[in-house]
Structures are given as structure tokens and as C-alpha cells.
């Protein structure tokens, strides 16, 4: 997830007063935070606002980061609490997007790309759309494992669960994702399998 100076190095520079160094951390983790937030809050606009708030909160409590875990693990706790607080305040409907909307999103994002790029993007959209139709628990564990590249041990730390439970939850989530893709994107999935 990162190249250049390590997260710890950047954090110590920020703590010494080099505020601009924080921009590097934001760039490094903005997609991670935004994706997780989007899994909680289905609206992109709200998710962006909440993600911004998460980075501000992380900045203010940066001195509390002791480096005992990965920065992304620590950041996840802020994502979790901020999203829950936001949803509690807004009482947003966190139900899955309906399939029609998902297909619209997929189709509207394919212009101006060559065949290979279109195919790759369409597959990525298919996966993302299928994930967004899963429950938060399923999409959360998939995002942490595949997108945030957290190990099972790290995920068990983040979620406060036994490693074996994480393994089972990950397995079930992948199973449901597979079923979701097969049901919602039947033709595309068949193409991929063949």
C-alpha cells in the first residue's frame, strides 16, 4: 500500500510540527478510508464528507498512535466509530442498492476507454457493485482482506474476533459474493469462468 517513507516516519514528522507531511498519509490512505466509508454510507457525497472528517480526527489524535499496530488498523477504528456516529445522527437507510441502480452505475462508467480497459473496468465495477450489495459485515471483511491487504491476524485484531471466526466469516463472505455475482452478472461471470 505504501512506497517512500514509512507511515511511522511521516507520523513522527507531523508530530514534530511538519503539518504538510500529513498530506502524504492522506494520499496513501484516502482510497482505503473512502472505500470502507462507502461500504457503510452508500452516498458518495456523504462518504466523502465523512472520510474527510475521519482524516481530521486522525490528525487531531495522531499523538495517540503508538505504532503498536499498522496505521491502517488504527485508522480503521476511527472509520468505524465515525461512520456509526454519522449513521446514528442521520438515520440513513443503509440497505443495499437495488440492482437497477448498480447496472446504471456500471454502464455509465465505460466511456472513453479501449477494449481491454473497458473489460478490466467492467470487471472491477462488477466486483464493487456486488460487494456493495452485500451486508456491511461481509463487505467489510472482504475490503479489509483484499483491498486493505490486512492479514487474518490483523483483521481479527481490528474486529476483536478470534482468527478462526475471521476465517469462517471471510469464507462465507466470499461465498455470498460469488453467489451475488453469479445472480446479478450471470453472463459476465460465465464468460470469466469459461
Amino acid at each position: 500500500m505504501s512506497t517512500g517513507p514509512s507511515d511511522i516516519e511521516i507520523i513522527s514528522r507531523v508530530l514534530k510540527g511538519e503539518q504538510q507531511a500529513y498530506a502524504e498519509l492522506v494520499k496513501r490512505y484516502q482510497n482505503y478510508v473512502f472505500t470502507l466509508t462507502l461500504r457503510f454510507i452508500k452516498s458518495r457525497e456523504d462518504a466523502e464528507e465523512v472520510s474527510q472528517d475521519i482524516f481530521v480526527k486522525a490528525y487531531r489524535s495522531l499523538a495517540d498512535f503508538r505504532g503498536e499496530s499498522k496505521f491502517s488498523t488504527w485508522l480503521y477504528t476511527i472509520v468505524n466509530t465515525t461512520c456509526i456516529t454519522f449513521l446514528r445522527k442521520k438515520r440513513l437507510n443503509v440497505q443495499s442498492l437495488d440492482n437497477e441502480k448498480v447496472f446504471e452505475t456500471v454502464e455509465s462508467q465505460d466511456s472513453g476507454l479501449n477494449a481491454n480497459q473497458v473489460e478490466r473496468k467492467s470487471r472491477a465495477n462488477m466486483v464493487n457493485s456486488s460487494i456493495s450489495m452485500l451486508s456491511y459485515d461481509d463487505s467489510e471483511i472482504l475490503t479489509l482482506f483484499y483491498k486493505a491487504e490486512q492479514s487474518l491476524e490483523e483483521i481479527s485484531q481490528i474486529l476483536g474476533l478470534e482468527q478462526n471466526t475471521v476465517k469462517v466469516r471471510l469464507h462465507r463472505a466470499r461465498q455470498r459474493l460469488k453467489t451475488m455475482m453469479e445472480n446479478s452478472f450471470n453472463e459476465e461471470v460465465r464468460d470469466i469462468y469459461n
Binding site: 507531523v14 508530530l15 503539518q19 504538510q20 500529513y22 498530506a23 492522506v26 494520499k27 484516502q30 482510497n31 482505503y32 473512502f34 472505500t35 462507502l38 462518504a47 466523502e48 472520510s51 474527510q52 482524516f55 481530521v56 490528525y59 487531531r60 489524535s61 495522531l62 499523538a63 495517540d64 478490466r120 470487471r123 472491477a124 462488477m126 466486483v127 464493487n128 472482504l142 483484499y146 483491498k147 487474518l152 476465517k167 471471510l170 469464507h171 466470499r174 461465498q175 459474493l177 460469488k178 455475482m181 470469466i192 469462468y193
Partner: protein, 180 residues
């Protein structure tokens, strides 16, 4: 040994097969399981198909990108944080001495109350023997809370508590004025 595992695995149901294949894909299988699974993939059509399906899902997951916020995102965050300062680490302003002070304060209060309460009880009955049982309904609670010594004791505790609070607030004030 491997043949036992192989027989067991090849008889595995769909769910168990998937669990084993996911473990194999994730690199969590043991060396012997790995060998068996590899041979099952090569020899059993059902295992081969399932493995290909799961591998496709796995690769799709890795290939899919993270969602990206707007282009101005980093700039917005950086503008926002200029309004704030990094708060001191929680462990630096939670002074252990304060916690110990509060603990000692409450401990003294409880111990004082108990000592005073037990001191007030007449342990001998009218016939001179020590009562085995304390009859709760015979205790006159008004004596405990309506007495000069008790009032003085409570007052001292309240004053002690206020002094502790004042010292703690003063130390925080000093720390913040130093930082500013």
C-alpha cells in the same frame, strides 16, 4: 498418511471442498494438505472446476480497485486541519498520580465509614453474650448520618475532594499555557 487425507478430501462435500480450496488459495494449507489438494485438482474434475471458479473470484477481488474520492480530497483535508492542533496523547494528560489520588480518596472514605459504623455497633446482647446475628431491622440508620462526627468526616472528605480537583485542574491549566 497422505492417501488417508486424500480419501477424506475427495469424499468431502461441496462446502468442505470450498473451505479447503480457499485455504489452499490463501496459502493457509499445510504442506501435506497442499500436495493432496494439488493432486485432487489434477485428478478430479469437480475439484478442478471449483478451483478455477474460486480462483477467478479471488483474482477479481485483487484486481478490483479501491473506490477513489474526488480530486480535491487531500486539499480539503489539509485545509481543514489547519484549524486544529494535534491533541496531546491521552496518556500524558491522564496523570497516574491523579488516578491514585482519587482511589485513595474513595478508599479512605469507605474505610472511614466502615470503621465508624462498626465502632457504633453494640456487639454484646443484654445477657452479655456476643450476638451471632445482626438484625438489620434493629439498626438505627439515623445515628450514622445524623451525628456531628459523621458530618465533620463527610465535610472533610468533600473538602479533600475539592482540593484534589483544584490541583488537577491547575496542573492541566499550567500544561496548556506552557504548550501555547
Amino acid at each position: 498418511m497422505n492417501s488417508d487425507i486424500s480419501t477424506h478430501m475427495s469424499n468431502a462435500g461441496g462446502g468442505d471442498m470450498e473451505i479447503r480450496l480457499w485455504e489452499y488459495i490463501d496459502g493457509l494449507s499445510t504442506a501435506s494438505e497442499k500436495t493432496v489438494i494439488e493432486s485432487l485438482i489434477q485428478t478430479h474434475l469437480e475439484w478442478k472446476h471449483k478451483y478455477r471458479e474460486l480462483l477467478e473470484v479471488h483474482e477479481l477481488m485483487y484486481a478490483s480497485e479501491l473506490e477513489a474520492p474526488s480530486m480535491r480530497f487531500t486539499k480539503n483535508v489539509m485545509e481543514e486541519i489547519t484549524k486544529y492542533q494535534i491533541a496531546p496523547a491521552a496518556k500524558t494528560y491522564i496523570d497516574k498520580r491523579v488516578i491514585w489520588g482519587i482511589a485513595i480518596f474513595f478508599f479512605t472514605m469507605i474505610a472511614g465509614l466502615l470503621i465508624y459504623g462498626f465502632g457504633q455497633i453494640n456487639w454484646t446482647s443484654s445477657d452479655g453474650s456476643i450476638d451471632k446475628y445482626v438484625s438489620l431491622d434493629k439498626i438505627d440508620y439515623s445515628k450514622f448520618f445524623n451525628n456531628t462526627y459523621m458530618n465533620v468526616f463527610m465535610m472533610m472528605n468533600v473538602i479533600l475532594g475539592l482540593v484534589l480537583l483544584d490541583r488537577w485542574l491547575a496542573s492541566r491549566r499550567k500544561k496548556f499555557s506552557k504548550e501555547a
